[in-house]
């Protein structure tokens, strides 16, 4: 048995199961317990994951589960995302019945995401994809009295169930063509197979991953789900499933379809161009912060996919994706944390909710500004270094045309990020509130903002770790 290889997953899964009854019983002050325990568990899991970054790549559990630096790196990112989300959730649902429930769903989704990153077996991939998605549906539907949240959850669920079923169907083709469930055996077996079948399978698989990664045209659920869900949940859904799906897709493509089989680099670069352009164009017209951030995260997925497309051709592509996903996590969660805080004050996420925010809440306003500028790629923030790495990878991999499209996109994306900044700084507040504070918000925003600045000024550390984390099994 290679049980040592799944200690982080076991810690979190065990805690999640143990906390279910606790959440049912917790009353009053004790409602905070599951959140605190989940946070401690995530810290412990991360502490176990860090040393595994240096493990030589190998397989565990009869070749179904990878133990390589790649998996450890993305698991770390996912754990960080979950921990920050729980911090925000604790403040956001303080004193409500959702307070003890939310962390458990986050934990379940986190385990699923961590598994997806490591799975090298088609069956496990399907299983873990569902395990990421189901708790996410629940999280969106968390506030049962909120009609819009229910509608959003339903949309998310129906869309997700269909997309994942189609993807499972696509995976069966890989099995049928090669007679194996293992990614590496499939990679070897697909060599002489009719290209049309592989293309067909790839198309179906991309529907499932495209759903999780919010790639156009499988993004339709995202704006509605993000808007309907409470802001911390939107933040979580915009980060953790996306990170897991990117890592899972890269593993699938590089292990099961090596050598650009079925022209996946060209397919992905086309999808990347469409995704970033569409996301940005639609974001220009949004007047709801969560909806705007949803389209922004669609565009960001397009930028990242640009480097995934050259994953095999450019040596610096995988570290670039790793770095960008880590940076994206920090800046996106910082933005959602501030939006969550504003949402709790006003019960609204329209632009008017942040109008004149600078006047009465200068620190959250500054944090949101930095997060948005980072998403727009302004130096010296993390999003800038990340975009440089992605662009270098794309040009190096022979996709100079895509890099130009991306640069044009980044130029006009600034418009909608700056529209929010202008609301906060250049206008008088229409109303002011007695600013409600929360320790969880403050910590989450502080950590993310610090991380955004620090990894932007000194990208070296995270880039080095991402470099280590770009070693896959094969």
């Amino acid at each position: 048995m290679d049980l040592w290889a799944v200690v982080p997953e076991m810690i979190l899964a065990g805690l999640a199961l143990a906390l279910v009854p606790v959440a049912g019983w917790a009353r009053g002050r004790w409602r905070v317990t599951p959140g605190v325990v989940a946070l401690l568990g995530l810290v412990a899991a991360a502490a176990v994951t860090v040393p595994m970054l240096n493990v030589a790549p190998k397989e565990a559990f009869c070749g179904t589960y990878a133990v390589d630096p790649f998996r450890s790196f993305y698991q770390l990112v996912i754990e960080a995302g979950a921990a920050i989300t729980i911090l925000i959730l604790q403040s956001h649902f303080r004193g409500t019945e959702q307070e003890p429930q939310a962390p458990i769903a986050v934990l379940f989704a986190t385990v699923g995401a961590m598994g997806l990153v490591a799975a090298t077996d088609l069956g496990l991939i399907v299983l873990f994809l569902q395990m990421v998605s189901f708790p996410s549906y629940l999280l969106v539907a968390l506030v049962r009295s909120d009609k819009r949240a229910q509608e959003a959850a339903l949309k998310y669920f129906i869309y997700g169930a269909a997309a994942l079923a189609v993807m499972a169907y696509g995976l069966t083709f890989l099995f049928g063509l090669t007679g194996s469930l293992s990614l590496r055996a499939i990679g070897a077996g697909l060599a002489g197979v009719d290209a049309a079948w592989i293309a067909f399978a790839l198309g179906l698989i991309l529907i499932g991953y495209g759903f999780e990664m919010t790639l156009v045209p499988f993004h339709m659920w995202a704006p509605d789900a993000f808007q309907g869900a409470s802001a911390p949940v939107s933040g979580f859904v915009s980060v953790v499933p996306k990170v897991a799906a990117f890592a899972g897709l890269m593993r699938l493509l590089m292990e099961a379809m090596p050598g650009g089989l079925s022209n996946w680099p060209i397919v992905l670069s086309a999808i990347a161009a469409v995704t970033m352009t569409f996301g940005n164009l639609v974001a220009l017209r949004q007047r709801s912060l969560k909806r705007l951030l949803a389209y922004s995260s669609i565009a960001q997925a397009g930028y990242i996919l640009m480097a995934v497309a050259v994953a095999e051709r450019a040596a610096d592509a995988l570290p670039a994706v790793g770095y960008y996903l880590a940076a994206y996590l920090l800046m996106n969660l910082a933005a959602f944390a501030v939006v969550a805080q504003v949402e709790r004050w006003f019960g609204s996420d329209g632009f008017e909710a942040v109008r004149g925010l600078f006047r009465y809440a200068p620190w959250p306003a500054a944090a949101l500004t930095l997060a948005l500028l980072s998403l727009a790629g302004i130096p010296p923030l993390a999003g800038f270094a990340g975009k440089v790495f992605l662009l270098i990878a794309a040009i190096d991999g022979g996709l100079a045309w895509l890099a130009v499209i991306a640069a044009v996109n980044m130029a006009f994306a600034l418009y909608y990020y700056v529209a929010i900044i202008a609301e906060m700084y250049f206008r008088q507040p229409s109303r002011t509130v007695d600013v409600a504070r929360g320790l969880g918000y403050a910590w989450a925003i502080g950590l993310c903002t610090f991380g955004t600045i620090a990894t932007g000024i000194a990208p070296r550390i995270v880039l080095d770790i991402a470099q280590v984390g770009s070693r896959l099994l094969h």
Partner: protein, 489 residues
Amino acid sequence: MLNVAIFLPLLTGLVVLTLPRNRPGLVRRIALTGAVLTFLVAIVLWAGFDPNGGALQWRTTVPWIPIGASYDVAINGLSLALILLTAVLMTVVMIFVLHEHDRAQAHAFLFLLLATGLIGLFAAQDLLLFYLFFEVGLVPMYFIIGIWGGEQRHYAALKFFLYTRAGSLAMLLGFLGLYLSMRPHSFSLPAIIAAQPLAQVPATAALVFFALLIGFGVKLPTIPLHNWLPDAHVEAPTEGSVVLAGLQLKMGAYGLVAVLLPIMPETVARFGWLLVVLALVSLLYGALAALAQSDMKRLIAYTSVNHMAYVMLGIAVAAMAGSDAARQLAVSGASVQMVSHGLLTGGMFLMVGMLQHRAGTREISRFGGLIGRMPLFSGLFALLAFGSFGLPGLSGFIAEFQVIGAALQLSVWIAAVTVLGLILATAVYLRLTAGVLMGRAAPDLDKLSWLMPHEIWPVAIVAALSVLIGIFPAMLIAALDGTVRVVAH
């Protein structure tokens, strides 16, 4: 020491942010102290600078990102001149706003952050670092225009930001193209200049050339990328216009002289006539558009298009001229023009700001006869205006004379058109001076108060420096000499 000059303003800005909110006076004094100290550090840099060695001096190199980017700063003569200019204009601005108390902390922080970006840009010897400081020097201006600007400030700030961003992303792609053409990949500017990686691949070189031209051309600005300029200058608060015209336009100019020309002299020469045409059209258009303005601020904004065209003309001539002497003359003229325009136009914006503050309007027709009411103001105003159209004895003359002299060696026609532009510019400033200072005083301007010390000092400083350069041009030209010879090589 160079690192101190770069980060001292930022450090001061961070200190200012920690001060209590109800002490705007203290904030202003600390910010001024920071600016003055930065100026003193710049003087130290100058004292330790050897003008004869064309090599980079005061160099610091620290590995930054393990992909071939490093924190690499150093100065040559041009950098030194522009760093001194930055320190002077920052001090001037800080004196000017000494009594402005509206959100003083944020205001001071943004200006100081901007100073760090500018000084860092002029010192950066690594293209990625150059890009970083380029943006750091621009983003604060968006907030300055948007928060403290005039009525159309939202529109102007957004337009400024989007234009600049589009330009800088084009520049970034150009830098990445250069980076990937180096073996091993490197962002190091001296290494790229030494290796000339694109000399053998004219197609790629042309793409990179146009990417960089767009990036620097937006900031310069040149026709047809100048559209953001009038709005941004007019809507910005006075101190913002000073920095915008005096310093931020130099980012584009510096990029042309210190980056574009040295890394691809052949390509610049190949497209030299395009640059000449752009420069001449900008020169005439800037002057003609200024001639048509009734708003003083808008008028001065358009003259910037005219003045900065000399820089582009300078590099075009430097790339195409046959003799070494002509090339050096052109680069020298372009460089002096940056400093001169920074001082003169910065001063002009300050003076217009004072008038607007007193009369609440900037229309030339509303003023008149100030020479009898505000003699000191009128004297300084006339001095700066005359300097701006190139009156001998002031810095503008030295710069434009050198560029025209160099252009003459390339073609008489270029020089002829340039002189025509010079005549138009003279008309612009004479019309402005006559309209404001002479004639019959408007009756409602009786209440115009005398200048305050915090208004006199800033203008006096820039005017004195401009006269100093005009009388002893050798002082500046000597500092620039080493750089000029290297760039024009």
